[in-house]
């Protein structure tokens, strides 16, 4: 929204005349943003109409007027289902671990890259580290299962070669390891990619700050602590707020591809649950109810995180 008012004056008085004047002055800018406003409306707001399904006993063949209304029955079913609480736990757990790892590792990695003096090495390291981002989860899941396999899997072979253990471990069969495996594969795949944005933020910090610090005799670590980190704080906070908003929507590819029946208690997530118990059984209404729950929780989380950071760090996205 900043772009719209970029060549307008800061609006002090908000009477009708000035609004139209600004509007006329910026008519091209408004016109240019119109398609995107429409886009958002068509793809994000218009589908909300479908939420009505959650309160109906929806049947595909009938028109809207003919649907039978059932109130909040589907929500009752949902909240009475034990499986639901289990998948909710798994979703939130993997999300939280994912957010912690997904912030710490890329930030540390970005700072480390930034401290490297050899440009050539820095470039190579950066490129190599973000390449896995472009590999599909299907392939990554195959790699991970192969690496952790008990039948000539690299990890087991290595550990046995080191003499740490005599018997290969069935990593993929242990439910309590599943969250860790998912997080680690995610870190491997996305760290390099997530680093890019922090590197860009670091590049925007004025070199005179570092020079001044050096004159004052600050060590490399002091410079990181007092200049680099505060310099990218805004970026970190904004990204954090946004990912907290997505806490509950972690998708299902990783869990679906890496999971198996033995770790089911740890691998089922909300999206899989709504797919299996909603769409696949033609329980369209029930599936919609789950997704309404999803959206409501996301909005609450987003506002809570935003409010919290506004108070603590004076930074927020709204």
């Amino acid at each position: 929204m900043k772009a719209v008012t970029i060549d307008g004056q800061p609006q002090v008085r908000r009477d009708k005349g000035t609004f139209w004047r600004t509007f006329l002055r910026n008519k091209y800018l408004y016109a240019m943003s119109l398609p995107f406003v429409l886009w958002v409306f068509v793809f994000s707001y218009y589908p909300l109409w479908g939420w009505t399904m959650a309160f109906q006993k929806y049947k595909p063949a009938l028109s809207f007027g003919e649907q039978q209304w059932v109130g909040v029955d589907h929500f009752k079913t949902l909240f009475q289902d034990d499986t639901f609480y289990q998948v909710l736990r798994n979703t939130l757990a993997m999300s939280f671990i994912g957010i912690i790892a997904g912030f710490l590792v890329p930030i540390v990695f970005a700072i480390m890259l930034n401290e490297i003096r050899s440009m050539a090495f820095k470039r190579v390291a950066q490129t190599v580290s973000y390449l896995p981002h472009f590999v599909s989860w299907v392939v990554v899941a195959g790699l991970v299962t192969k690496m952790l396999s008990t039948d000539n899997g690299a990890v087991n072979d290595f550990l046995m070669w080191l003499g740490i253990m005599n018997e290969p471990i069935q990593f993929m069969a242990k439910g309590e390891l599943f969250w860790g495996i998912v997080t680690l594969s995610d870190v491997w795949k996305e760290t390099g990619w997530n680093t890019i944005i922090y590197l860009a933020a670091i590049a925007g910090i004025g070199p005179e700050l570092y020079e001044a610090a050096k004159v004052d005799g600050a060590s490399r670590l002091r410079q990181i602590w007092h200049i680099t980190l505060p310099g990218i704080r805004t970026t970190i906070v904004i990204l954090l707020i946004m990912s907290i908003g997505h806490l509950i929507q972690i998708g299902f590819e990783k869990q679906f591809l890496l999971g198996n029946n033995l770790v089911r208690d740890y691998s089922q997530v909300l999206d899989l649950y709504s797919l299996e118990y909603g769409l696949q059984m033609s329980r369209y209404s029930f599936g919609t109810a789950i997704n309404i729950f999803n959206s409501v929780v996301s909005i609450i989380l987003l506002f809570a995180a935003n409010g919290l950071f506004k108070r603590i760090t004076k930074e927020s996205i709204m």
Partner: protein, 573 residues
């Protein structure tokens, strides 16, 4: 200058946006693409001569992907279009077929022809498919002939006796000349051990154990694997849970065991016999004969493992592990291929793979209410069901893919070679095998009025497809095909309900959710029980049974029993 730039930007964005809208709105035109011009190919044969042959394209959706579909540009497809004027524009489910069917059923825009297997109930509930009773009666003499005396079995349900589907998966008069299931052992295993009797799980276990003792490792020093199971997603049914009833004398009725006389329904994991089967698998694991990765590996890993030739034994169907075996055959390692043995838990049971279900109707093709010309659609399907049509789709074109010598249809040597060794390309070019699942047809072993088999699967042809090692093994067991080792169909009573997995369940029924919950529990508990220490097996099994009861397994059984009994009533009318 600045002004112009702004204008050009505006023009650009609006054009892009208009393009977007246009792209969104264009989807619906495909269905009615038929041009009204007169057919370029008026050479019609007798069966459709007086009919309208104007080219007409119908959209066709199937849950079963056919990678060899060539948009009817193959030889058989061209012949079909020439005779009927109809071209099919096929769309197949990618990924999970049930999900795809649900989406189509919910979208309200239906393909003209729908082959949705078990998901057809979603379309029926949505009112998406036509009742074909009258259409068949008026326009489809050949379909009527194929289903003679069994037309009543096409009815959807007792409550809704309409015909929505022309069954094409279940064939009429099918005889099984070969077996692809049971338990599998590599030919080298039985050969080295002097072809021991393989009848019970104990025999099977002994064979694996003895061979592993002799050859613990393969030539590269990797350990040989005794028995590997395929438990990735739905393969669980094929390789882990279905064998539990097949080895204990139960027919395949999906997740249920149905008493042949009283039609009492039991969730099959509650049978005490099956507990013993899983106890045996648990024992196999404890002995180190079961592949540790059985419940972790993905399907492709399983196939890759088989392709290394290290897996001595399997419990699977040939179509499920076939890709792995093909790789071995391609390398000429025929002794690493698998034979099929009718293994049971103990000798008192009969292996039930071939328990007859009779003609069971069910899965097939439906005509949607959006179909532009249902009459021509049914005539097209009727042509496929005619003698001429069935020979065309099974044998191909006379003079090209088969010859008639002395009244007998023969496949020339060179064509047959291509058919076996260049199967994919052959199917793509000729289209043989691409049209079998569209309409009613006879099964293997049925002869047409000229005295020839309708299909190309008959004993001589099957034996011709065996390699020498396979023939040697078969000969050692005194059999011509694997089928000979299994109990005969006559030894069983025909199930009057067909097969329970083939009964459509209304989408609103409680049993949909109930059965899914039970499946979740079972799929979690069975691997646990098998991988547990033997002394813990009983406890896990008891917990599992309690969990089933808590999940209302009895209600699921009752609901299923109602469905089965309703079908028996309907079919015996």
């Amino acid at each position: 200058m600045k002004r112009e730039m702004k204008w050009s930007g505006l023009v650009l964005t609006t054009t892009l946006f208009a393009g977007l809208l246009a792209a969104c709105g264009n989807n619906n035109d495909n269905a009615g693409n038929a041009s009204p011009s007169i057919s370029a190919n008026p050479t019609a044969t007798s069966s459709a001569s007086e009919d309208n042959l104007a080219p007409l394209t119908m959209t066709f959706y199937s849950e079963d992907p056919n990678p060899n579909w060539a948009n009817m540009q193959d030889e058989v497809g061209k012949a079909l279009t020439a005779t009927t004027g109809i071209t099919l524009d096929a769309e197949y489910a990618v990924g999970d077929p049930v999900q795809k069917s649900s989406l189509i059923a919910a979208s309200g825009e239906y393909p003209d022809l729908i082959s949705a297997k078990g998901s057809i109930s979603k379309f029926v509930d949505a009112g998406a498919v036509l009742d074909l009773t009258d259409l068949i009666d008026q326009y489809a003499p050949n379909i009527k002939k194929v289903f003679e005396g069994q037309l009543g079995r096409l009815k959807y349900s007792e409550v809704d006796p309409a015909i929505y589907v022309i069954p094409s998966y279940s064939t009429v008069g099918q005889q099984y000349f070969n077996a692809g299931g049971g338990f599998e052992l590599q030919h080298r295993v039985v050969k080295e051990l002097g072809y021991p009797q393989i009848k019970t799980v104990a025999d099977f276990e002994k064979a694996i154990k003895d061979y592993l003792k002799l050859h613990p490792k393969d030539e590269n020093g990797n350990p040989n694997i005794g028995l590997s199971l395929n438990a990735d997603d739905w393969h669980m049914f094929i390789s882990v849970t279905n064998p539990a009833f097949l080895t204990t004398g139960g027919a395949d009725d999906g997740e249920f065991h149905i008493d042949i006389d009283t039609q009492e329904v039991t969730y099959h994991f509650r049978r005490p016999e099956e507990k013993e089967y899983f106890r045996w698998l648990n024992h196999m694991n404890a002995e180190g004969l079961l592949d540790k990765e059985s419940f972790v590996q993905k399907y492709d890993q399983y196939k890759a493992k088989i392709a290394t030739g290290r897996v001595l034994g399997l419990i699977d169907q040939d179509w499920d592990y076939g890709d792995g075996e093909k790789a071995l055959k391609a390398e000429g390692k025929f002794e690493y291929g698998y034979g099929h043995y009718p293994v049971t838990l103990t000798s008192e049971y009969k292996e039930a793979s071939f328990w007859p279900s009779g003609f069971m109707a069910g899965n097939g093709l439906a005509i949607s209410k959006d179909n532009p010309d249902p009459v021509r659609a049914i005539k097209f399907l009727d042509y496929l069901a005619s003698d001429e049509g069935q020979v065309l789709m099974n044998w191909g074109i006379e003079g090209k893919h088969y010859k008639v010598e002395g009244g007998k249809r023969v496949i020339p040597e060179d064509v047959n070679n291509r058919k076996i060794n260049d199967a994919t390309k052959f199917q793509k070019e000729t289209g043989i095998g691409n049209y079998n699942l569209l309409s009613a047809h006879y099964g293997d072993g049925v002869k047409d009025p000229t005295g020839n088999y309708y299909t190309t699967n008959f004993p001589e042809q099957i034996v011709a497809g065996f390699n020498d090692v396979e023939k040697e093994t078969l000969a050692a067991y005194g059999a011509t095909t694997w089928r000979d080792l299994f109990p005969k169909e006559e030894e069983f009573k025909v199930r009057p309900w067909g097969a329970s997995w083939n009964i459509p369940v209304p989408t609103e029924s409680d049993s949909v959710v109930l059965e899914k919950k039970l499946q979740d529990i079972t799929w979690k508990r069975i691997p646990q029980a098998i991988l547990a220490k033997p002394e813990e097996f009983d406890k896990i099994w008891d917990d599992y049974q309690k969990e089933l009861i808590a999940a209302d397994v009895e209600k699921a059984e009752d609901l299923r029993e109602e469905l089965v009994k309703a079908r028996v009533r309907m079919w015996s009318e």
